[in-house]
Symmetry: C2
Subunit: 186 residues, 2 copies
């Protein structure tokens, strides 16, 4: 059993999808995830839109309605049976997200206790064996192993184990049924 810290935005919750959707709606643009290869949204929009784009994320209702990332619920439910899962999110960067994030986690991930939520700034203060995150900057001072969750902005980041989706994350951390059978036979 390992202790696995899991980031929220871009890992459990599709914050980028919602950000792009709201930005396109506000400015009549047609930006897609595929346009952001190796870049943050901020890097592909005009400088005069930076403030408005920033305000989208700081809206009270932004975090409340985010879609769950494909396969996150099933994978985390399976992983939580074998490991100790902590949700570790840099919520202090957007204080308006604190309450909505709590409600969102309770709604979509009821099998993870709120005692295992960590709303913080610096993530390296959390003691865990692994940190699944789309931002490699959190790995630098972290004491465990960083697992990079694939996202448009991190396509060019190297030096860390990368999982492309929750199917891969689950495979990395869960004893598969076939392995269990094998273990019974030997």
């Amino acid at each position: 059993m390992a202790r696995i810290a899991v980031d929220m935005d871009e890992v459990m919750a599709d914050a980028l999808g919602e950000h792009i959707h709201r930005y396109n709606k506000a400015f009549g643009t047609q930006i897609e995830r595929a346009h952001l290869h190796g870049k943050h949204l901020k890097e592909v929009i005009p400088a005069e839109h930076h403030r408005a784009s920033h305000e989208i994320v700081h809206c009270e209702d932004f975090f409340a309605k985010l879609k769950v990332m494909d396969g996150a619920q099933e994978a985390l439910e399976a992983m939580s049976k074998e490991h100790e899962i902590y949700i570790v999110t840099a919520a202090m960067e957007v204080p308006a997200s604190l309450a909505p994030k709590y409600v969102w986690l309770q709604e979509h991930f009821p099998f993870i206790s709120s005692m295992n939520y960590v709303f913080c700034g610096n993530k390296h203060v959390v003691q865990a064996d692994y940190l699944i995150d789309d931002n490699a900057r959190h790995f630098k001072l972290f004491g465990g192993e960083g697992i990079l969750f694939d996202a448009p902005h991190n396509k060019k980041v190297t030096g860390y184990k990368r999982v492309h989706n929750w199917h891969e994350a689950k495979a990395l951390f869960c004893t598969s049924e076939s392995e269990q059978k094998q273990a019974c036979l030997t």
Copy 2:
């Protein structure tokens, strides 16, 4: 330099004082801190008031206006010059406290970065050398040393180093001026 995790309620913020004040106002009682020697407020009020007393703390505005504990600002400002200070609060027990706690910290402790706030459930997930807390239950699985901050409910708790106020906490963690002078002479 050590990393010191510091609890909020009953350590930085006088939550008990406000709880007693609101309870007395609601029920016309005259409970004082001194009546709680070795006990929580819950243990000295009638069972039929437990729910109302619980609701006092879960009020949206409860955490916003708490008084700062005597000497906390001066001591933590001095300590933060020699150590890495993290505010670690079990905010998930009262989700309505998340946003007010953030605002309160910004207002009263502006010298501590919000990157050093940790709003969590289980505190033992935080990696620090010390945890200053009034609840000894947080020390059990904590990897560092627990420092018990004196409070009415913990008067009978033994087995931990106890500080009775912020003056003592500061003395424990700050190199005093006289010691600095001594160091220069030797």
